[in-house]
Symmetry: C2
Subunit: 408 residues, 2 copies
Amino acid sequence: MISVDPDRFLADLHRLQSFGAANPGLGSGKGVVRPAYSDPDIAARRWLAGRMEEAGLAPWFDPVGNLFGLADAERGMLLGSHSDTQPEGGWLDGALGVIAGLEIARAARAAGRQDLSVVSFQDEEGRFGVTTGSAIWSGQLPLNEADSLTSPDGESFAAARQRMADLAGDWIAPGRFAGFLEMHIEQGPWLDRAGEAVGVVEAIVGIRDMTITFKGQQNHAGTTPMAGRRDAFQALAAFNAAIAERFANVVTPQTVWTIGHVALHPGAHSVVPGRAAFSMQWRDSDTDRLARMERIIRDTADEIARARGMTVDLGRMLGLDPVAMAPGIVEACAAAAEEAVPGRWRRMPSGALHDATNAARHMPVGMLFVPSKGGISHDFAEDTDEADLVRGLQVMAAAVDRLGPGPL
Amino acid sequence: MISVDPDRFLADLHRLQSFGAANPGLGSGKGVVRPAYSDPDIAARRWLAGRMEEAGLAPWFDPVGNLFGLADAERGMLLGSHSDTQPEGGWLDGALGVIAGLEIARAARAAGRQDLSVVSFQDEEGRFGVTTGSAIWSGQLPLNEADSLTSPDGESFAAARQRMADLAGDWIAPGRFAGFLEMHIEQGPWLDRAGEAVGVVEAIVGIRDMTITFKGQQNHAGTTPMAGRRDAFQALAAFNAAIAERFANVVTPQTVWTIGHVALHPGAHSVVPGRAAFSMQWRDSDTDRLARMERIIRDTADEIARARGMTVDLGRMLGLDPVAMAPGIVEACAAAAEEAVPGRWRRMPSGALHDATNAARHMPVGMLFVPSKGGISHDFAEDTDEADLVRGLQVMAAAVDRLGPGPL
């Protein structure tokens, strides 16, 4: 029976917040500025390594700065998340999962279990790639490819990880771990809105993403009559309206789609735009549904282009398939949740990517969510009641208890 | 009776095309690259000054490079347009009006009329401002303001006009001229589509232009449900659809409106856009209609923002009022057109701005259009049948005949 210490857990969480804490005098609350490989990020990882050592775990940095706290046992579960933040991030995104993992492994050791390891992956927030550190660790992203990635401020990944070179040891083989369990804030509104305490993640949604370009006829905005225009922005607007209508019969309340980037050419007040390039991204936990949406997108784009005497270019589609959580872990979490907060938890998909996506290439994975106040994340205002944080920790500990030290 | 020489007119027009002629080997046809103050532009103006002198006119450059060919008479009409082009322009836009004016003044002198002056305004195409040369000449744009304008390639107007400093004399007072008549290609499809030879312009349409910004809530594109989003792009799309519907009862086939520039913030595939700033421009020849459209735009933007829990910022409105052509000049042109091409001409508005807009601050103005093949302009492919060019010249000469040398 793992008996966690809520005070020690919260104290560690607050201490981690102090690395890169945004100036609270400026109304930034518990906000944190601790992007991957920044001085505060490296300092936080050094402190975390010390806390792991104090807990009886062997701290270990791999070549890209992923920090492991390794158990003595040859094989066991890995618990954790990431401790880097967005450029303007909250105090819980990633940090919660790392400190929860640390507290559970620490408490488990006190109860005689020496099989639980802890991790803080590097650059989950994607200064360079997408969940960069765990992507490289899992073999999803080759290191030489990663080294040539560049951050928005112009630093190469190779140069960034060099800043932690004095700490770096060899790679930790994923095969060493029997499973991965990650606690995280929901970053969405569902739990908070329903007054629920815990979300048991069943799948991390899949993502499809493509850039679509309508090509019409650039023209003088004064002399070209409306009826004779082949206005690429108008094609985009018609496409946007048509897919919303056609998606209605296909989607669930969890399905999302987004046009987040638009570039008109030539982009002048007095010129009918001849070209509109825009991003189309859609997410769902069901691969079939993603494919049905893709069909609608392709057909609608073609129809609209044809009807307007225009052409459309559908760019290469980025595809990340949904990742199912391991049924054994899901059920252990569900049973623990029902015991701790009966009727006040739900099974749900994760709309965001997490390190668990990459870990799933090698082992059974699971995730537990706690509520995000107002659904806000990636913002200084991100927060969760401390009672909910502790409850999440206790549910996770109980799930780890149920799973036991054996093979999953 | 002014008797123009079609061959001399066409020869001059082709000679002017040779200054900055785009490489015809690259399929650019009669295309021209002769932006204001470029070497080809200055060379073309030196050649034009020579042709004016040969025609018995006194060539005169003002401080910004507007080139006048001045008649002997104290007072008389001014004919012309501009000889600078778009970065990738056609051979007729502006050039036609300058050479037509030159031919008519030249032919008139041979017939004993010495009252007609000619002009090629500078930077009508707006490397710097909007119809820059005639705007400064007319007092619409103060010279010190113009000097601080910068071209897209980073040159200041002050530096650009310095390149013609060796040619520059003093200003030519607009009060010297009794009226202004400008022949131009239509740059739209109406005449070409109807098989008509001449358009008698009754008004240059007014323009309203503002930047509108919807502000919603920037959010994670994976974890934010569709129903909870305050997506600024979706507000823009809804606005675009709603104004088109509401305009339907207000507009004429000549009314136009354009969203030519869109900027989403932060403009990322994975982020629900929290801000959408876009250009809204509308044009019509009736001030009341422009105002009714403005009311619809403001009301619709407010309604859409309110309904979506967002805010909207309506930027400063640029307003250029419609400019009516002088009735005396319109009727002289109409009578000349009806005589030359009975039933094959129309009265029409100009959807584009022209130098005549600025001249109208000081004198009665008129404009004559000839067809643009396919309505194409501001493009290498811009063209007009030479028979139509000559017919336009003859109608303009006949109109100048009817107006006579006296006060308008």
